[in-house]
Amino acid sequence: MNKSLLLLYPLLWAIICSHAVGRPITIPSAVTALLQRADPQANVEYCGSVSTNRVDYYLFLLTRKELIGVVLVQYPTGKAPRVADADTSLFPFSGFLQHSFAQPLQEGIEELLARRNLKKNRPARQGTSHQVPEISAVGRDIDHVIYPISGFRLGADSTREILRLLRTGPTLSVDPKSAPPGSIIVSPTQFYNDGPISLGHAGILGSDGSIYSADARYGGARTKNFTLSSWLRRFSGTNGTYAFVIRARFSGSARGQ
């Protein structure tokens, strides 16, 4: 009996969710107010909602100058809405989203983002394996430069995940203020459930003190858009800034795969 319930539960939830994904729901004013409070200066794009019988989830894109990110707002029945997650990418899922019971919600988020990308003529990249529909190109743009040279790649567009990968990868942590050229600079997204949201970012330090990173104003193309000092001013107070030198590889084989 218990086993059958365990099998039925995700299936039932999947059915409930799949019927509700993207359903044109009017955004509750409490959700709108939360987002406005969380980042008053950001442009907000509504991607859709995923509903269960007790909780509604609303997915938004936030754009603020060079930065773009995804925000998931959780609105349980009879309670106040709260920011459930926010970052330049929600993949790989973390927090409560990584649990198996949240599988239908994960699929709903992927579907909403894929629909949004399709609408913007940005189909997900084709590949042999399952590709998640990304919004930000913050990690991809770094990988495009560092992988052919160092053999190391991030493979993630989430600033929190990028920081984790750099901390555990073949790198050396250095002081951001005196980071040498070629260092990877990352400021992870920070948020509180009631706001504010401070979108993070990541880029590569050039040889003249400039920073190259994906720029949302130009469709995520790598752009010379910060100096080290302007980056520190922008992110150090709210997000924290970390810098890493990638260790030189000593053989021809690629690492970090």
Binding site: K65, P180, G182, A221, N225, F226
Partner: protein, 247 residues
């Protein structure tokens, strides 16, 4: 049967050899960074230089139309005309560089109302109301008009004439020499936060409109600094004293 001392010596020798082999692998074979060091090795730095060089190639050069100057790092083209060149010349002449974090903490930071004014504004007058202020200022070419890329108009009651200011949103240094209508605006802005105790009031940044209308200039400027007028400025030096010895 081997003597006991020889066996001990052998064990010690093997242990030392294993230890040395481990150290050798760590120090030389991988990257030249001593074990336990947090300093990048020469090969790490050399690879970094390659990465830095590669990062700058193939960088997107965004398209723009003539009426919508592209914004970006250290780019003041939104101000029109020769704003970039003027800012560069201004920096070179007075030895100004991108401020460090330490400098920023030493300078006085103020909330400010960042707005644009241009030669297409209806209330633009020639000569400007402040043209007299340009005598003996940074620009000695005899042109009494404002200069795009270095000129801001301020309320002299709040920021003394000739002060050196830095605007982080534009990464721009300017000399506070023009005033125009900032004094008039002070009354209507009196209740705004930028006119509080830590406020510098309205800081009008001069734009050379070119083919743009006055409203287009304002729109371009707002897009460059953000969607609202609120911002920060740093007063690097109050009054004209910072120029002593530079001319």
């Amino acid at each position: 049967m081997k003597p006991r001392g020889l066996r001990t010596f052998g064990a010690l020798f093997l242990t030392t050899l294993i230890f040395l082999l481990g150290c050798d692998d760590e120090d030389t074979a991988e990257s030249g960074t001593p074990s336990g060091s947090s300093q990048p090795s020469q090969s790490d730095l050399a690879q970094g230089m390659t990465i830095a060089g590669q990062a700058g190639t193939g960088v997107a050069i965004p398209e723009s139309d003539a009426n919508t100057p592209v914004s970006g790092y250290n780019d003041l083209s939104v101000l029109g005309g020769d704003a970039n060149q003027n800012q560069q010349a201004f920096r070179q002449r007075y030895g100004l560089t991108d401020p460090t974090q330490e400098q920023l903490t030493q300078w006085q930071e103020y909330d400010a109302r960042l707005t644009a004014y241009s030669n297409k504004d209806a209330d633009w007058q020639y000569p400007t109301a402040a043209s007299a202020n340009w005598i003996e200022t940074t620009w000695t070419n005899g042109d009494p008009l404002a200069v795009e890329g270095t000129t801001v108009a301020v309320d002299f009651n709040r920021i003394p004439r000739g002060s050196l200011i830095y605007i982080p949103a534009l990464d721009m240094y300017a000399e506070a020499n023009d005033t125009g209508a900032t004094g008039m605006w002070a009354q209507s802005d009196a209740r705004q936060s930028d006119y509080g105790a830590t406020g510098a009031g309205r800081v009008d940044v001069y734009n050379l409109a070119g083919d743009r209308s006055s409203s287009q200039v304002e729109k371009n400027f707002q897009n460059r600094v953000g969607n609202d007028e609120y911002g920060q400025i740093y007063v690097v030096y109050r009054g004209p004293g910072w120029k002593k010895g530079c001319r």
